[in-house]
Amino acid sequence: MEKRTVIGILALQGAFAEHKTALEKLPVKRKLETLLVKTPEDLARCDALIIPGGESTTIALLARISGLLEPLREFVKVKPIWGTCAGAILLSQEVENAKKGGQDLLGGMSITIARNGWGSQVESFEAPLEVEGLQNPEKSFNGVFIRAPVILKLHPSSDDPPIQVIARLSPGLLPPALASPDHSDEPKIFVALRQGLHFLTTFHPELTDDNRFHDYFVRECVFTAKR
């Protein structure tokens, strides 16, 4: 039997169980093994990784005390990672509105992101997204944004793989403090990006029944990288 591809889900804190359930519903599930990653030994078995939503400073702190921070920094250089919400922050090169004294990041995507772009829990919302990079792009995707980050800048250098926009938000939904008077709302309305092996979404696809983002990550980032 062909060896199954192992997709790990970083399970230190946050919505990891929901990602596992979503992966196990994919049509390609027979080719996948899902693994909740809590230790460096777990991570060593993985071909790809999902960093779930949760709270980014908490996940980074727990990764540090579990001895996972350096192994994750090595992993990001060679294997595909998808970060959702807090995971998207960890995948970014730079973060604004960070913890006092800075916070640990993995890098991997050449962007600057702001934590809690919309504010606290009561500013959380759901909104239909235009999903130009997914299957059935004519069908919008219900984006669940919980204390979500906002993408502020894309800054790929000439050696970096290009950044592709996979989904975007209607400009009218940007928080007033972030909306630009001249309506040049890019890249703040970008909510799903792909760069090389890596993928990020600032919202929570694992909290819906629509598995197109999981399908995209597995087909485009994981299986492509294995070939």
Binding site: L12, K38, T39, S56, L62, K99, S120, Q121, V122, R147
Partner: protein, 234 residues
């Protein structure tokens, strides 16, 4: 409810979400906390109840609520009022985990019973435990509560936290168990790791080492039947 100024200072000082308590039934305190911008509200029996009959109707609020429960019926009544999260009542401020264990075992045991019932049996069971039928049916289908379920009230050690996780909780609340211990920072860090690695016995052993004296476990009463706070709200 604590002074909103203090709550705002805490929100500014930390990066993580902040939860604050209101008295059972005190919907105006909840309106105030929502205006202050807390991330979650705990409608808590630990504060003296404002209303001895009615809980807050939580549906009109945008901020999510957590409520305590001792059994499945109580948990589903709170969810029906709009609670987005449930926790065991346990017995807060005692460092004694027995009530939290009792409440979690009661919830999980009743879910297991409901999960094998047919529809006629579920109607009668809903009446018996005072639960809305549609929520009981959904719980039976999911074989778990339809919302996240925390342990709270008496958790004092990393082992207590892992015990509650192995009994089926999704997370753990700890207050006095940390702040009344010998070395709060060390103990908090150890309990957090115990929740993450609740099934890894080797890591549980490591994090339980050298964390200073635990909060003294107060006995709740001589035969450990029922707590002082847990009886508030039904």
């Amino acid at each position: 409810m604590s002074d909103p100024e203090m709550i705002k200072k805490i929100v500014d000082a930390v990066t993580i979400p902040v939860m604050a308590k209101v008295r059972i039934g005190h919907f105006v305190e909840a309106q105030i906390l929502q205006a202050v911008g807390v991330d979650y509200i705990d409608e808590s029996e630990v504060l003296t109840p404002a209303d001895d009959e009615y809980h807050i109707n939580k549906h009109p609020f945008k901020v999510p609520f957590v409520c305590g429960a001792r059994d499945l019926g109580e948990a589903l009544r709170r969810i029906s009022e709009g609670a987005a999260m449930i926790r065991t009542k346990g017995e807060a401020g005692t460092g004694n985990v027995v009530e939290a264990v009792r409440h979690q075992r009661a919830v999980m045991g009743q879910i297991r019973q409901a999960s094998v019932m047919n529809e006629e049996e579920l109607y009668v069971f809903a009446k018996k435990i005072g639960a809305p039928f549609h929520l009981l049916k959904e719980t039976a289908r999911l074989k778990r509560l339809p919302v996240v379920n925390f342990a709270a009230g008496g958790i004092a050690t990393p082992a207590d936290a892992a015990l509650m996780m192995q009994l089926g909780c999704d997370g753990v609340f700890v207050g006095s168990g940390i702040f009344h211990s010998g070395d709060p920072a060390k103990r908090a860090r150890a309990i957090v790791q115990a929740v993450t690695h609740y099934n890894n016995h080797k890591i549980l052993a490591e994090v339980s080492e050298n964390i200073g004296p635990a909060m003294v476990g107060l006995s709740i009463d001589s035969n450990l039947k029922g707590g002082n706070y847990a009886d508030r709200g039904h």
